[in-house]
């Protein structure tokens, strides 16, 4: 059956002499792995459309629910080639690609995550173009909002996929607290910690969160991404939130993200 959808290339894996297995993030099929015949050959009709981050309209051929359908067509809707131009930008984006690949399942459609990914790429590109025009190219990365956008993606992605950590209040009683317990995926207040002998004797790893990071996290959870880019958090705040999120992610997937090691 020939099927059409839209997708963003997350990853490609060389297969055989000149073939590729292309992993797409799609709005209709979640993670979609397809087999592309000979795209690595110079005169391939796929051209650059299978490069990571390319947003395309694709057609693939295969039995319903069969794994690895054959990619027959890929028309670029937006190449995002600017984001592949600079190593520092691209390495930050790889973090969100790896996160997505670790959580999203095949045939598990999640339109919200697809739109979030697409929107994040668009905003990072807009930011890059603006900074490239306004400032010295070398300074671009330091002034850019890519750190904010990557954190925003991680928070919203965890929310949409159902793995968001509970930071605003105690996960057991709802009282205020600022000690985040990684294995609980939540903040726990002092009385709940005292009540639970398992937690105390287990010596579970805990992070003390600052008030600004709790407020910042709540803003990322609730505000629209287009509003988020108006705020200018400090590097320390971004780093603190990033640290909490990465430890939480590491606990859920039982391994650290390769891009963070």
């Amino acid at each position: 059956m020939l099927t059409r959808t839209e997708g963003i290339v997350l990853k490609t894996l060389p297969y055989g002499e000149a073939d590729l297995i292309v992993s797409y993030l799609t709005p209709d099929y979640g993670l979609l792995k397809t087999f592309a015949k000979s795209p690595r050959k110079i005169k391939s009709r796929f051209g650059s459309s299978l490069e990571p981050l390319t947003y395309s309209r694709i057609s693939f051929w295969g039995k319903e629910h069969a794994s690895l359908p054959r990619l027959t067509q890929s028309d670029i809707l937006h190449s995002f080639y600017l984001l592949r131009e600079r190593m520092d930008y691209f390495f930050k984006i790889i973090e969100i690609i790896e996160l997505t690949l670790n959580f999203i399942q095949e045939m598990d459609a999640n339109k919200k995550i697809f739109l979030l990914f697409l929107d994040t790429l668009r905003l990072i590109e807009e930011d890059y173009i603006y900074i490239k025009k306004s400032f010295n190219k070398e300074d671009a990365f330091n002034i850019s909002r890519i750190g904010l956008l990557v954190n925003n993606y991680k928070v919203k992605f965890l929310k949409f996929s159902g793995f968001a950590p509970k930071i605003d209040s105690c996960g057991r009683c709802g009282n205020t607290g600022n000690n985040f317990y990684i294995s609980q995926g939540s903040v726990l207040c002092e009385s709940c910690v005292k009540e639970s002998s398992v937690l105390v004797s287990g010596g579970l790893s805990m992070i003390r969160l600052s008030l600004p990071v709790i407020k910042f996290y709540n803003a990322l959870m609730t505000w629209d991404t287009r509003k988020i880019i108006r705020i200018k958090p400090s590097m320390n705040l971004l780093e603190e939130l990033s640290n909490v999120l990465n430890l939480h992610i590491k606990y859920i997937i039982s391994k650290p993200l390769k891009t963070r090691t």
């Binding site: 990853k11 055989g16 002499e17 110079i42 005169k43 009709r45 051209g47 650059s48 459309s49 490069e51 990571p52 670029i76 190449s79 080639y81 592949r84 131009e85 600079r86 190593m87 691209f90 390495f91 790889i94 690609i97 790896e98 690949l101 390769k258 891009t259």
Partner: protein, 197 residues
């Protein structure tokens, strides 16, 4: 029994890239019809390459000696080093007949998502060559894809302190192709890299 050995040969041949069962079958029957000496010579060539092939100490090309024939060749321009991802890339560039310098094989390309970090490539060895040899130009000929591009940028960054010329092979349209069928990124890069004629 005979069916077994033929079947075994077909199975082994079909492990080769680009060879399906049907081609493997054709090859197996062709080998069967060959004179014994020729068949033995093929088998020996395979064994020899597996036993003797190793990486060149200088450039990491595949060779059967400590230093490969390209590095040993005194008539080549040692001030230019072309950086490639795989030893197979050297054969293609050599076939073009335009480059007369030396090579450096990285044995891969950067890919953090797959855990391929700079320390897993022969980048430190390249820096060492730049430091100790009389290299004046590094030509980066990694693949024109995202991994190759990131590797090229990384090499450019790490070679900055050495004040040598670092160049990248050009992007463009393949000879014999039609502009009509080119994608916008390739065409855009070809226009950016245009030159006066």
């Amino acid at each position: 029994m005979e069916q077994g050995i033929i079947e075994n040969l077909i199975k082994e041949l079909s492990k080769l890239p680009g060879i399906g069962r049907k081609t493997a079958q054709r090859l197996a029957f062709f080998i069967l019809s060959m004179p014994s000496e020729e068949a033995k010579s093929i088998a020996n060539a395979i064994l020899e390459v597996k036993e003797k092939a190793r990486f060149c100490k200088n450039c990491f090309n595949i060779t059967d000696e400590e230093i490969c024939s390209i590095c040993r060749n005194n008539s080549r321009d040692s001030s230019k080093v072309c950086v490639v991802e795989e030893p197979s890339n050297i054969i293609v560039i050599e076939r073009s007949g335009v480059f007369n310098g030396l090579y450096h094989v990285l044995l891969g390309a950067l890919s953090p998502i797959d855990g391929i970090t700079p320390d897993r490539l022969k980048i430190n060895e390249l820096i060492e060559r730049v430091r100790s040899d009389s290299v004046q130009e590094i030509i980066i000929a990694t693949n024109p894809n995202t991994k190759g591009e990131m590797t090229a940028q990384y090499i450019r960054e790490v070679l900055k302190p050495y004040n040598i010329k670092v160049t990248r092979i050009a992007y463009g349209l393949p000879i014999g192709g039609d502009i009509e069928f080119a994608d916008e990124v390739t065409l855009g890069k070809a226009l950016e890299g245009r030159r006066e004629i």
